[in-house]
Symmetry: D3
């Protein structure tokens, strides 16, 4: 259920019974020689739509540019500074909270978003708390609840990956996420050579450091293993794995 | 050509010959009883993809939440404050400008974005000019060029609208834009009654004022006239009407 | 009626019957070889005082530095970044709104201000709307109304210009605005040579681009035609042309 | 020498030999029952013009709205938040510094501006220092110099006040500043009764506290003593008193 | 080695051979009925001093107010909004980076800081990368490296806690941290009753939600077990556990 | 009475009778060849603890990094930009004000903080005043009161300094402040040579200018006179001198 395909009277009706919304959040950043620049946004959106369809929940517009400072030495990457992303999430949540949305489930496709998004949640909470940094009178609206969940962190996805990709999953431009986009966009499978097939691993700091360590952008992964078929399995595992996480959040007292 | 479906080496190759990018910018806001909340983002994205396909130009990720403060008394609307939208556009342009993109064609779907987006362009230019408000040394990158074009402002669209909708186009939740989304999402045609069929017209100020004047959200329009077929014609007119505008921008010395 | 020449008890009395204020907004920027750097502020202020005198309306302090990033390659230009101008207008309006001023008529002297000023209006409206980006409780003050009007856009000014300057008005450092300042400051008529007399026309982007295209700062104009006498006529046309625009704004329901 | 009445080629010529500019900074705020709301801006501007004329120095546009939060419970007062004033001064100085202005003499008419203006100077300096909070490369322009001087703090003004007003000068809505505006605007002398003639004295904190302590807005002053003639003497004392201060600043190594 | 007890020539000498600094970061927030409000700052500072002494590394001034929005319904708590903490860390790191400090080891005492601090690191990195959101020319200084380490996350601390406190450690106002402050400040051991001895567990969202769930502020802990002696063991485990983490960071290529 | 060594129930009890808090604010910046980088924070903290102990008042966490842009050409200095310090103080005060703290006594150790801290106070007051720049409804909490007092400005300190250091006190890296830290940290007395013993005097502007004028960082001082014994006398004079200032602030109606 895409919020963007609803009308405002439909939303008004929905809010009489429901207060949840799913917010896909991804990134537009390099994913190695054969991964799509939009991987993290495209996968988050698809999984969010899957959860929304399964649970009858509205899915808001995808936050398709995220925090990707460390990828900016690769052309085509776009990043928000963390402070911009925080302001963006604040406005997004606060507008909808004014209408009665109370529970925001951020379905995340990009590790780099985690810190800034969680920071944003507390920037939001501060606005609902007369004693948290603001002089103005606190809202008469109830404090909203926000949570971030990464689609790849369910046991379902992990075991599918383990089975299909063995130890070659890695942590950026992984076969799981690349396969998922190949499933979603089978006309855009990329046959670029990967040399070496398994990318180097390790931690990193800023953008220069990242590019120096990971020459083609991948970290520890072998996305040559990605196929649309495997992507379908990842997609289904991701949706199934996240549904109970979402339901628990929606039902929590 | 979606940037999100490219790889970074493909972008690197593109930048050897091209420096343009099309940026769809829309909004997530009420469009009356039978218009989609995402109308302005969905239409801008579709028209941008059309221009991109016709001209071999990359289309960046859609800015799908815009400046819609005046619509916020209708549930489901999301707005950025102008200052947030300005920061967002700054980061978007500045990252890509660092890679060699020099000309940014914002294909706009929402009148409310115009002021903030143009303000953002000058906030960006200030960063490239040592004498414009910043102490730091000016960039050694050339100053980028940004322009905003509204898809509905070509003669092609105006005459198609005139012919199909007569004087019932109005200025918000128009039959043109509603038809365009019906064409794009034929499974989501809405049959909500419109009372009166032709909405009242007039200017407005803030969000309270807007809701008071325009009870169901429409301004001066009769979107009951919208059909997927008419939407197809609007879509084609919009793409054809904008191609020369884009080409002139890309070619200007 | 200058607000700056009133006392606070006089303002208190005024607010019992009136809620309008006129805000002159201009710029401090190059106006070619024979135009004053303060043209846009000086003209806006003079026209605003004229409207204020004719309608018994307070005129607030002139916003004399505006958004002029594109002029910053010419010495003496001062610019605010758009974000600074937005913050400035916000504070200006919000303070006065707290006293009972409800309708803000921005009498504008500079095209470069339009986008940022309109963006500022929505940044202001967002603060009065619990559902527009802010968590805090909405104001118990009514939403103010803000509008921007350019003094040169009335039919009165256009026909006076047409008659006196023919097709040599142009769009920056125009004979109309230069003449107006010559009328206001007859001791500061400048006799600098203009070469060519009619400046080149065209669009522009950032500050480097502007200077490259328009070598002496003018766009499409021939301000050698400006005289104090013609300036008097422009001034009177501007005041007369704007009075009904202001009255309509003040009287609107 | 008003910068606003110069042309850009004139400024270019000036900058070959001079690097100073005088910036009048005042406020728009209540000045008791018989003082003008614009007193601090009008007096600063007049004194700045006097210094500029005597020394052949450009005087920039007057900063006519300042930091007056504590006066905001009196209608007609306008305030910038300190953070807005800081941003404003930053942009003002940084643009002109890009053209070659190196020494900024802020001629101040309002005690409430002192803290924010001095804070702004250091916000500016930080931008010229690679080691002061910014990652970007430091400017290749020399660090500008900024200073703030209050027109009433010379011995000349103090002795004139002492002689004419005895112990009835006070600290807000003083006979000196009110007289100065009466001299500048003799048609706007106000005959409002003052009760008691000598206002109470004392310190204050925020806006509520200020209004509670100082019922008609004055602090410790008796501006019933103000006349245009006395204002002329204050004006001349202020200009004469500030000229050596300005010259010392301009000449310092 | 406290930076605050060094002189600038000593720092200059240090920087010829070393580029690391340890930055203690904590919080000032409620820690239940018998825990100190400054627990997180006091413990982080003490552990940082321990690591600094053992490795001859400067320890910068403690960031003693952190991100504690969720604790603000308990008196005495102080919080920065995430955006303020990000700005603070930016300035802290950027000033020192200008002097040659290249590696910043944030020794953290408060879980609530993790997201905002990591967001700050990327806000910082963006400033060193011409392609990451800023138009200005990138720094000619090398990109610094920042990392955050929580003192309680070493195996040394975990096993000491397990042994001394069994399953009664919990996650806020834990016996480990309370004991550590009792060791540091033996004159300030608090004998407040804890009812129930073992606090409830669970997740939380904003400040209202936190207070509703955790009536006395503790989460899942039994700090009645805390004694100065046990605190000594925790302290030593924390320092020993973090030394290799710090050394690996300092030595990494 | 350190707030950090209290528990939240203790603070709750305190607030039933008291509303004051002392906030030490200092800086981390060069203090010449034999002065500690943390001098201003260490001295402010010690004096604040002294006042707190004598009057039974809570002392909040020390603001140990302040506004020291002009010292940043000396390694080890850390500065906040004024805007960051303002945001920091805002959050600090607003959180505690939400709990019932109403009077904030900033005990200052660094002249460079004065402007920014006073600016911060008005930024705070603006938040409590519906007519001061904010649209949101004013707080239902009473407006807090903030004041800044410099520990060295009492007659007690001045006369002790005069007696012990004659005319060799100067204004930065003074024997008084250096002695005070020697008293507090007798193991960290520095025996660095001072050449010349008496540093040059004069005003300064930005960081480059400061370093050029004051080669070793001192201004007009001879801190070779500092000893722990003299520091003890300065410390006691500072505490005794400030106690009545604090009491007057706490008791004022």
């Amino acid at each position: 259920m895409r919020l963007q395909l609803a009308t405002w009277p439909e939303v008004e009706t929905y809010l009489k019974e429901r207060a949840e919304i799913i917010v896909p959040i991804g990134s537009t950043e390099q994913h190695g020689p054969n991964g799509h620049i939009g991987t993290d946004a495209l996968t988050a959106e698809a999984v969010a739509f899957g959860i929304g369809a399964a649970t009858g929940t509205y899915v808001g517009p995808t936050i398709n540019v995220g925090m990707a400072v460390h990828h900016t030495q690769f052309p085509g990457t776009i990043t928000l500074r963390p402070s911009t992303l925080i302001a963006y999430i604040q406005d997004y949540v606060n507008t909808l909270s004014g209408h009665g949305f109370q529970r925001f489930f951020f379905l995340n496709g990009h590790g780099g978003n985690i810190a800034s998004t969680n920071a944003a949640f507390y920037e939001i909470y501060a606005g609902y708390t007369a004693t948290a940094g603001a002089a103005q009178q606190r809202s008469n609206r109830p404090e909203p609840r926000c949570v971030l969940a990464n689609w790849w962190e369910s046991e379902e996805v992990k075991s599918a990956s383990r089975e299909m990709f063995g130890g070659r999953e890695g942590s950026h431009a992984t076969p799981s996420e690349v396969a998922l986009t190949y499933y979603l966009f089978p006309d855009h499978v990329k046959n670029a050579p990967l040399d070496p097939p398994l990318a180097p691993s390790g931690r990193f700091f800023g953008a220069d450091d990242y590019r120096r360590r990971f020459a083609d952008g991948r970290i520890g992964s072998d996305p040559s293993l990605a196929t649309p078929e495997k992507g379908k399995r990842i997609y289904e595992a991701a949706v199934q794995g996240m549904i109970p996480v979402f339901k628990a959040f929606a039902a929590a007292t």
